[in-house]
Symmetry: C2
Amino acid sequence: SIQFDFNQHSHRRFNPLTDSWVLCSPHRTQRPWQGQEEDNEVDTRPSHDPTCYLCPRNKRAGGTLQNPDYKSTFIFENDFPSVRQDQPSLVDDSGDDLLKVQSVRGQCHVICFSPLHDKTLADMTDAQIRPVIDAWINTYESLRPKSYINHVQIFENKGAAMGCSNPHPHGQVWSTEDIPHETAQELKNMRAYRKRHGGGSKCMLCDYVRTETDNDRKAKSSTAASALASSVPSAPVRAAVATTADGSRVVCENDSFVCVVPFWATWPFETLVLSKAHLARLSDMNEQQKEDLANILRRITCRYDNLFNCSFPYSMGVHQAPTDGSEEHEGLSHLHLHFYPPLLRSATVRKFLVGFELLGQAQRDLTPEQAAKRLADCSEVHYKAV
Amino acid sequence: SIQFDFNQHSHRRFNPLTDSWVLCSPHRTQRPWQGQEEDNEVDTRPSHDPTCYLCPRNKRAGGTLQNPDYKSTFIFENDFPSVRQDQPSLVDDSGDDLLKVQSVRGQCHVICFSPLHDKTLADMTDAQIRPVIDAWINTYESLRPKSYINHVQIFENKGAAMGCSNPHPHGQVWSTEDIPHETAQELKNMRAYRKRHGGGSKCMLCDYVRTETDNDRKAKSSTAASALASSVPSAPVRAAVATTADGSRVVCENDSFVCVVPFWATWPFETLVLSKAHLARLSDMNEQQKEDLANILRRITCRYDNLFNCSFPYSMGVHQAPTDGSEEHEGLSHLHLHFYPPLLRSATVRKFLVGFELLGQAQRDLTPEQAAKRLADCSEVHYKAV
Ligand SMILES: O=P(O)(O)O[C@H]1O[C@H](CO)[C@@H](O)[C@H](O)[C@H]1O
Ligand SMILES: O=P(O)(O)O[C@H]1O[C@H](CO)[C@@H](O)[C@H](O)[C@H]1O
């Protein structure tokens, strides 16, 4: 009888952060594609674009304000915010179980990563990325004491395919009165994990870092794995083999961070950047960790660009402790960043998360291990610099 | 002090089917858009395209098979399925809490809605749509007894913007050994609702149909609402007013089905088509209900096309009882269809669910009531027929 093969047979993998499953159909990579193709915008941007509302000295989108002649990062309040500080609040005391509503106050910021219109994180140096991290920290820390802000979501939409309307290198910060769904879910699932594993300061992501990087365990399990693979042909054993930690999902790492294609990745080349130490937030990093974060961000974004020789689109963001002052949330939170890039096969062919994904469950074609290998094989020298 | 205004102020609404929140920022509709625009494919398709692998008599994508000369619907197994019947299964007995995996067997079908290449549900007649419903029922019923199929997901991706690679009118059916995440979540939340509300045969969606359509309650609450609105200026009261049932989210209805923009809609013009009777599945419909479903499908898709005078893209699908034989699932399930369309402002400007949405929480601009009014104002005579 045929053995189960993770590179050929459909399976689902569990995402412990979101408590949901993703269907993996590795044989489906052979499917021909006749659908929509993205533009591969050949990158001939000037370093200063007089029509860009984010470049230094230019007029902003609102029309009245003008940008300063900034030299590294530049932070300002979004001219079209999704949440605002100055609105009445609303208490829903209707007790209605079907029509539940709450007011949400907050603030929205834009952070320009560089004055140069034609840069991206992928072709900035570690030293140039470092001020972006400082800007994230300063924004978070300045919002943290505000009573109407309980969560600060830092993110970047890069590329037209990810809804970015301006190619000037920038990210956003949406800070809200509520703790958004994704963070709330992660905290809930990390709390349950801690409880299941004896409480205390047990952390799901600390364990996951260890699973993906521990060299002892790696050596042990790969010996065990090959022994088992060659001697015992039953399906359960194959499962054990494929799911042991063998470093096959690691893309790159340094002393403070590891970047993996998570075991449960949904997007074709999704990655997760994990702090190796249990840090609640960006501002808990020491100098070395800040430098290491800049370093890993450059390296993963550069690998992404080199994968299909294009400016690789993605949405990316930081998950860290909410600013609600809860000690429990603080203890549970483990600093990490998610990268959600849409491309599947080339600079122009993306994965659509549509019908089955929206109505049923996330679905992917290549395996996370195949994606990790592709990214691990990419150079960390940017293709445009070669 | 300013009163809370649902058309101006940010708030979040609870989705009881998914147990998650959506942020609604109505003032954000004023934001200018400089980002990616979709193609507005002017629709000049022939009724038979010799290069289409779904048209009657043509060669299929695989290369070897040929389509029959079908006259209404045509069902076949997907040549590039995401799940297959003939694969080994896998038992994961590793006990690992972080790297959890299961094999998934199943079958994937394609259903052509019409032999005519240039048709869509929106410009078919009720009588032409009726065989599509029969095809869905036949497919579900033929898969239902199979031991390796516990759930049948019927869906349609329409339009290049929703990952559809062939404009020939067709949908898909992915049938799996597992119950996919979205259905599992809905069942879980409907179970909890039933428990909270006294058990028995209490149903969240029966209650929701009543909330959105009950004319008595409508009359009562709108009297109460205007009385309250004019006399008492406090915020809690405003909440009660805005969230009572007043018919403001109904797009269209007939004796058996109602189509609403749900109170918790995420996509700008998302709709939910609900069976008025508590039916577990499509095959539980009587003749009248089948005709009424064809009727409501034509009317909502026609309204969609008329909204921006284009062939309106969407992902759509049916949620009904799993085929796992569970009596509990059968009793909980309430037949409904979701429409998830991406367009926001015009035939070419879509809503991107990206950075904040992926990392934080779903976010929308116009309110569900505004969207429902726009759709309710659209004609049910197709713009191309006028
Ligand atoms: O099978 P199709 O129509 O080629 O593929 C489309 O629908 C599938 C199911 O929603 C998705 O997984 C694909 O990403 C999408 O392109
Ligand atoms: O604010 P931006 O960059 O114009 O808007 C972009 O990011 C937002 C946050 O993810 C999304 O809600 C928008 O749909 C997207 O176009």
